[in-house]
Amino acid sequence: MPHKKFLIIHLSRLGDMIQSLPAVKLLKEEHPESEITYFALEDFCVPLRGIPWIDTLVAVPSSDIKGISTEDTEIDVEAFDRLFQRNPELSTQYDVLINMTHNRGSSYLSQRIKAREKRGRIFSKENEIVMAGNWGKYLFAVARNRSDNLLNLVDLYTGMAGVRNRPVECYLPTDPSIDRQCLDLLKEQGFDADRLAVGFQLGASKSLRTWPPERFSRLGELLGERLDAQIILFGSEHERELADQFHKSAPFAFIDLIGGTTLTNLPSFLKCVKVLVSNDTGPMHIAAAVGTKVVGIFMSTAYFRITGPYGAGHIAIQSNYPCSPCLDSTVCALPLCGRSILPEAALAGVKSALGMEVGPMDAGNGADLYKSDFGGNGTLLYRRLGGENDHFLSWLRSYHDTKAWVSQTLWNKWLGLEQDFGVPPFSGDGGEMAGILQDYQKACLSYGKLYAQGKAACRNIISEFRKPRPRREFIQEMVVRIEQTEEDIKNLEGPLAILRDIHELYSTETEFCNFPRLAHEFINKYDKLAEVILCFENRSDQIRRSLCVH
């Protein structure tokens, strides 16, 4: 394998960074002679120190990144100059740069760094988002259409890294001496190594993604009664208020580690519990990374398909509210979705994570439970537990699952993933599935028509320019037709929203030039996207045939 220099840029929060580690591990496995440099925020990259598959860890203080980790249109060029002066690694020539950060500042940074190949969000034009590579485009498009996707962020990062998706375990090694220290510290506080230990992570980066502390407290009570579990509270000092609320309503003894852990020893502490029940947070991903089973609670803007804990056997509890998950831009004034998740659902989640028989669940209709496993193509897949659709909320969730299953099946080939048909997750009647397929086929038809329409207008422009005296009005008419096509695509409704956004991203790659060359650029774009549509049509036919066989 030739020696290659990779640079990974990850200027995001702790959880996202931990989710990038399996991709880094796989990259090193596929390119053992390569040199991997990881560029990250100092505050969050403490657990990454000493990871053997990162050759150089460049940790920048948050203060250095001010004005850089931003979506602002105005780029603070001087701040970037200073960043380059302080970090000589940024001036090195790389073979591959992978930007896993999702903001404008990082894309500008990616543009300035020298690399033969660049993937992810790359700054290249004024006020436009340019995503290099299919995986990068897909990740960006999925951010706004999460319900249509089944792939976990770990698998998306793995795809961006250009390595084959396959299960990864133990991607956050811990120091055995710190492990021992943590266990001793816990024992001093009454930890019984022979009893089941369940950790609670009460907080989250945003309060609206926080399960109410009294729900945690009731869960603790149930775990004590039914499983004789001891409870350990995790969290930073900022989460003290939540811990106090928990304390007030908890009629049992527990170990309180709030404010008592650091990013250095948190992985080791989390190894001491069998299961961590957590909101969608960085510690949740750390627990999964060190091999602890996780029961993740997802509400508001949090959605398990993308940011669910990575690895087999974890549980995700997703609020079933019809508006969930929401986007940052659509968050409501008083989120009620967290309250829809009952402690009984979390208890069932803990039992399932421990491999116990769950039995009939009294988890209410407000939430559904999913368990993770790896699919035949090596990607993580959450499968719904239970599967009754006797209420609108669970029916809708199930409908979304099926829609996402169809969507993923269509996109897999484009992403270079092996097809993994498996059994569709929908447990309703076959008519629903047929309806969904029909919707997709209708959408394919609409896109196909528009692409053909756009191409025809482009061809007319090209042939008009070949004439000795091109008719200006005619060309103008064709340009209007192309503009209308683009507008119609933007407003297309239906299940192919990811494609609609990918279309936008392809548009940003269109070279800025004049007609007739621009017509060639557009034809190129329409051809690429029409190919996707053709592939989708074939796939949906295949699905229909395979369902008939079943």
């Binding site: 019809p322 004034a333 009620l336 909320l393």
Partner: protein, 315 residues
């Protein structure tokens, strides 16, 4: 709405009188575009208002959306006379911009939206704004519908761009649209009548409909949900015990549970599927509508709003 809030003030023991401008509506339209006649018309309105104030001698003048309280000199005079001025701006501030001219002159400016509207109000010098959501009029006349034919799915309202856009990909299962101006749009071809539907008739349609579509208005064709205010229709449908599917609103959860009392969705595709689901599940539909009605009677009638207003006014 004006009559409803007037009655509500009386119901909570306040002396209240009403100046009903609806009789002036025809003349308003007729004089538009003719500067001289328009001036005369507004003078007539002003005189009517001054006569009412002189006769009734109110402590508070309470205007609601589009009432002609836009003469700054007159408002200043009222204030000087010690009258407290209130205005309930029950409109989308993005569509109706007249608030910019009047808001700073009112002692209390009630809105159905919060930020970023409040920030804009602050910027023009109006700092006494308060959130006052719409409500249901329990005194409204409601037609008997027991023997009437059920309507599977319906919408009553105006053809705003987003509605035209989404309804053009209309629902199956007998979707019907009622309202003015729909015939101007080639799609959707599911319009029943093409005229303004009076409240009484609309309430009848709401009650006869198994599934009511409540898509909030937007000037942007592709916009579904994500807006802030909760429209009067949401409260009316709920108050009538009629089942509704609505687009999700940022302020909705302050008033209704979006999964238990109304069904709030984030996409047109989901709304179509939900409509079809609820046509098949009568008990679930009825239970949701019953809970919505109970919620309205508990906290979202005009009487509740009158009480909230008086509490804010500190009287």
């Amino acid at each position: 709405m004006c009559r409803a809030i007037h009655q509500a003030f009386k119901d909570i023991g306040r002396q209240a009188d009403i100046l009903d401008f609806s009789g002036f509506q025809k003349e308003l339209f007729e004089t538009r575009g003719d500067e001289e006649r328009s001036c005369q018309f507004y003078l007539k309105i002003k005189i009517a208002l001054l006569e009412k104030v002189a006769g009734f001698q109110p402590d508070v003048i309470f205007g609601i959306a589009q009432s002609p309280l836009h003469n700054v000199e007159m408002l200043t005079e009222f204030k000087r006379a010690g009258i407290v001025l209130c205005f309930w701006f029950m409109e989308d501030y993005r569509i109706f911009g007249y608030w910019k001219n009047i808001a700073p002159y009112f002692d209390y400016f009630f809105t159905i939206q919060k930020d970023p509207f409040w920030k804009e109000l602050k910027d023009i010098g109006c700092t006494t704004y308060h959130y006052l959501p719409m409500a249901f009029d329990t005194n409204a006349a409601v037609p008997e519908t027991a023997a009437a034919e059920a309507i599977p799915i319906s919408f009553v309202g105006a053809p705003y761009p987003n509605r035209v856009h989404f309804f053009s990909e209309h629902l199956d299962d007998g979707f019907r649209i009622y309202g003015e101006d729909w015939n101007r749009h080639q799609n959707p071809q599911v319009v029943v009548g093409d005229r303004r539907i009076p409240e009484y008739e609309a309430y009848g349609i709401y009650r006869r409909s198994l599934v009511n579509i409540n898509l909030h208005s937007s000037p942007f064709p592709g916009e579904f949900g994500g807006g802030d205010f909760v429209n009067p229709r949401t409260f009316e449908l709920a108050g009538l015990g009629a089942f509704q599917l609505t687009d999700m609103r940022k302020l909705l959860t302050l008033h209704f549970d979006p999964a238990e009392e109304v069904i709030a969705l984030t996409g047109w595709g989901d709304m179509k599927k939900a409509a079809s689901y609820f046509l098949r599940h009568e008990e679930e539909r009825k239970a949701i509508a019953d809970r919505a009605k109970a919620r309205v009677l508990k906290g979202h009638t005009y009487r509740h709003r009158a009480e909230e207003i008086m509490e804010i006014l500190g009287t």
